[in-house]
């Protein structure tokens, strides 16, 4: 095996690991990564989200990989190119190939006082933690630098509650990316947020106060700005110190000199990302770094890829303002023409740079609304697809994007983050059968980084003739959401009425349970009433879960997993008396297996009498709300997680939904209840509750995303109420919350707008729907036992109600009954080399 050593585990270093591992089918390379920071790669582009409720874990990019030896906190100290050895404080590593991915460091101008306490840089999570710690109890902050990073840092200070100054040497904000007029528009947005902007002035000194920490800044225009803390964000410089010391060639302005293949001046030594100077030029953006990582991975596998050159286009949301710059944004081409559009009312500024004959798009700047960015960026270098003003008007750009996309040549990049061309996407649609955006993402990686090209992926699917049918089945041309609205608006009360009005045929095992669920959501009541009984899957029909041999399992509700000894004894007695196999579930309750249909009412009579009710394990409905033991017992707990879990489980019990719903509550950040793997998970904080949504285990495990922080119990419950009802109303059949959120245009932000900011004016309706559910909830099993007609369904044979099904038999495994297989290819007993123990055998 050949040894690959990578120095650095930033975003680009991580991308290189993934690219190598993805291509190294033959297991040719062992990978060792030497990382300076104590934590694995994280998303530095989204760093300021750290102050907006995201945790370090949310930003993590690294997934553990047995084929990668990741050595955290072990920076490379020196490299011996002749012997091919990298030395660290802990050891020495021989390499067959070496890649520098050391990134860059913040540039701090040599002004007096730059080392005072209270002066920070903005680069790593450690920097951010130090900033957060220092900001406690302080009031005024200043950022030196009004570029991209400086505005990010200003936003961080604002989120920390400081009144903020930004000091920029150039005459406008973001001088590298945008022009004078765009900078002026951006400044209006930024000042409206309470940030004080000083442009055209440098910082000459940082001055200490009586406590020795920074207290004021002296500016070159003579002004003095008071500040309790300062962040320096005046640019970055490549980390090339180890490479220089080893004797590698460096670029004229620093950076490890590489050619188009990523190779440095030494054999088998490469550099990627911000530390590399490609033909002398360093790039401070992640997309060119990713492209370099892909090139080097290809070269390591014996390929012949070369760096295609960098697209420095960027689209950002800075302090909530869309800013984009693409192509020749500053109009440096000879004779080029500018077309600009400024609307002070809506605060939109847009500029297109055109060739001297006004026929070819060269670049542009967008501030305030960057909807048109994906299509415009992809159109750089091509003939204009519409008159410039049509392209510039924000709505026009979007409307025309489809036509523009059709005109693009196959070699045009649709996803610049991952260098995916239109050809690659079209090929994935036709040759690999990708029929939706998630399939295209998985297949091509397009849209997986910044996501701005996702609308283009959708348009490409349409242009290539992929129609995504919404039809539920052959009986309805509608999606579940549309059927929900039809039933609600026309107040339809039965399946037969709905299919007569909106469908055809007699229905099937797909549409009938969907409609049963919709009817249950809108007209609360017994789910087996009248015609509704014929719509239900067998699980809902017998209020139990069918198993492989035709018997059922029974799960009584144990809210929050909290149970008294008396109730536990009843479950044990019932299981013993009916010879039921007993197992603890993953949701902190107890599942009793092997009940025949005619036994179900007898079992439930005993359970209901003991105070149990249906656990809805059989339904597409709320299952459980797990909990850790919380502050009542746990020495670390900060809130009563059990109390909240019980209350939530009782509130949402019986709620029918497009798919099962799971939840959990953890009493502190240690997260013992695994709440982030749930559809809605709650984690206690010192100040209340953090709510996470869209997690699940299963086939494609997914962590839930942080939705809201430090909520009071009342706010939390109201938010979950709305989340659940909105999900029930608008999700597709069998669509878990994660896929549903992904399918919403605007995703999590849109969801937040709807249920927190009430952007659709729906919240009162959602609240009322949940109130109706809670008022009308009744235990289905108690309701069944009370009614002889309902009970009459629970017979083995219509003409021999008490005869047990003769096909059902059990054997004993580990002391409990299990089904005897009726087929030759059935299950075999597990042999573990232990003596078999059967019931009644002597101990």
């Amino acid at each position: 095996m050949k040894r690959l050593v990578i120095i650095g585990n930033g975003m680009v270093g991580q991308r290189l690991i993934e690219a190598v591992r993805a291509r190294d089918d033959g297991g040719e390379w062992s990978v060792t990564v030497l990382a300076e920071e104590g934590r694995p790669a994280y998303d530095r582009v989204k760093l300021s989200a750290f102050f907006d409720g995201s945790s370090a874990e949310d930003l993590n990019l690294h997934t553990p990989d047995a084929g990668v030896d990741l050595r955290l906190g072990e920076p490379a100290a020196s490299v011996d190119l002749a012997d091919r050895v990298v030395t660290t404080a802990a050891g020495a590593y021989r390499y067959d190939a070496l890649v520098f991915a050391t990134g860059s460091y913040p540039f701090v101008p040599p002004v007096d006082g730059k080392d005072l306490p209270g002066v920070f840089v903005y680069r790593t999570l450690d920097d951010l933690e130090a900033i957060r710690e220092y900001a406690r109890g302080r009031h005024i902050g200043a950022v030196i630098g009004g570029g991209l990073l400086g505005l990010e840092a200003a936003n961080a200070m604002r989120l920390l509650g400081l009144s903020t100054h930004v000091i920029e040497f150039a005459p406008r904000l973001m001088p590298v990316q945008i022009d004078e007029a765009g900078g002026a528009m951006l400044r209006r947005y930024v000042e409206d947020l309470g940030v004080t902007v000083h442009t055209g002035t440098g910082t000459t000194a940082l001055n200490a106060g009586p406590d020795g920490a920074v207290a004021t800044l002296s500016l070159s225009n003579g002004a003095v700005v008071k500040a309790d803390m300062v962040i320096v964000a005046a640019g970055i410089r490549p980390r090339d110190d180890v490479a220089r010391a080893a004797g590698l060639a460096v670029g004229p302005r620093g950076g490890i000199l590489v050619d188009g293949t990523g190779r440095t001046s030494a054999e088998d030594v490469y550099a990627v990302g911000e530390c590399a100077a490609v033909d002398g030029v360093c790039y401070g953006l992640v997309a060119p770094g990713y492209a370099q990582a892909e090139v080097v991975a290809d070269r390591l596998m014996g390929g012949a890829a070369t760096f295609p050159g960098a697209d420095l286009s960027t689209k950002l949301k800075l302090l909530g303002v869309d800013v984009a710059s693409f192509g020749d944004a500053h109009g440096t081409a000879e004779g080029c023409l500018d077309v600009t559009f400024t609307d002070p009312a809506t605060r939109v500024y847009a500029k297109l740079v055109l060739s001297d004959d006004a026929k070819t798009l060269l670049g542009g700047v967008l501030v305030g609304d960057a909807t048109g960015y994906p299509a415009l960026r992809a159109g750089v270098g091509l003939a204009l697809s519409a008159p410039p003003l049509t392209l510039l008007a924000p709505a026009g750009a979007e409307a025309d994007a489809g036509a523009g996309l059709a005109a693009l040549p196959g070699s045009a990049q649709v996803c610049s983050c991952n260098a995916v061309t239109k050809d690659t996407i079209v090929d994935a649609i036709h040759a690999q059968g990708c029929a939706d955006v998630p399939a295209l993402k998985a297949c091509t990686r397009a849209g997986t980084s910044c996501g701005s090209c996702v609308p283009m992926l959708k348009q490409l699917l349409t242009l290539e003739g992929v129609t995504q049918s919404k039809a539920l089945c052959e009986h309805f041309d509608h999606s579940r959401q549309e059927l929900f609205d039809i039933v609600r608006v026309r107040n339809i009360r039965s399946f037969s009425a709905l299919i007569a009005e909106a469908g055809r045929g007699k229905g099937c095992d797909i549409c009938k349970p969907v409609v049963a669920s919709i009817l249950a959501s809108l007209h609360t009541g017994y789910v087996l009433e009248g015609e509704q009984a014929s719509l239900q899957d067998t699980n809902d029909h017998f209020l139990a879960n069918i198993q492989r041999n035709g018997t059922y399992s029974v799960v009584p509700r144990i809210p929050g997993g909290e149970i008294t000894p008396e109730k536990l004894i009843v479950i044990g007695e019932v299981a013993r008396d009916f010879h039921l196999y007993t197992k603890i579930t993953g949701g902190q309750r107890i599942d009793l297996f092997g009940a025949r249909v005619e036994q179900l009412p007898l079992i439930w009579k005993r359970l209901v009498d003991a105070g149990f009710e249906s656990g809805h394990a059989y339904g597409k409905s709320l299952r459980t709300v797990k909990s850790c033991v919380g502050s009542t017992w746990c020495r670390y707990g900060v809130q009563d997680s059990v109390g909240l879990a019980v209350a939530l489980e009782l509130r949402y019990r019986g709620l029918r939904s497009p798919h099962k719903l799971k939840s959990a509550v953890s009493g502190c950040a240690r997260e013992c209840a695994e709440a982030r793997s749930k559809d809605f998970g709650i984690i206690a904080t010192d100040n209340g509750w953090n709510l996470y949504v869209g997690g699940n285990g299963g086939f494609r495990p997914r962590h839930a995303d942080l939705f809201a922080t430090d909520l009071s119990t009342e706010e939390l419950v109201r938010t979950i109420d709305r989340f659940l009802i909105f999900y029930i109303r608008s999700a597709d059949r069998l669509q878990r919350t994660a896929a549903w959120i992904e399918s919403l245009d605007g995703g999590l932000d849109h969801l937040r707008d709807v249920i927190v900011h009430d952007s659709l004016g729906l919240c009162a309706e959602l609240d009322a729907a949940m109130a109706g559910h809670i008022t009308n909830y009744a235990d289905e099993w108690a309701a069944t036992l009370d009614d002889p007609d309902r009970l009459s369904r629970f017979v083995s044979f219509v003409n021999a109600p008490d005869a047990p099904d003769p096909s059902i038999s059990f054997t004993v495994e580990r002391g409990q009954p299990v089904p005897v297989s009726s087929s030759a290819e059935g299950r075999q007993p597990v042999l573990l080399g232990m003596p078999a123990v059967t019931e009644g055998s002597p101990a």
Binding site: C508, P513, R548, D805, S807, S822
Partner: protein, 112 residues
Amino acid sequence: MIIDVAFQPVCPLDRLEPDRGVAALVNGVQIALFRTSDGELFAVGNRDPISHAYVMSRGIVGSRADVPTVASPLHKQVYDLRTGTCLDVADVSLPVYPVRVSEDSVVEVAVE
């Protein structure tokens, strides 16, 4: 249809809910009996040929094009109620049995 097998009474017609099945034990054979919403009766074997469990009577009744159907409650394969043919898996079928309603509204099935 076989004519020399006697029809045997199973249950009153009103014991069958529209578009829902019941299981019956006739001559030791497990039958799944269905009454569709337009009043037709069907009798097929209760054994699911794929899972081998006796569960067909608990499947959801519906239609595919013009064919009246039942879906296995375990893995949802769909069968033609008239012929027993599985519409999703080749060479799989359910046995079908003659079924009728007597003059006094009792459902009768003929099983060999």
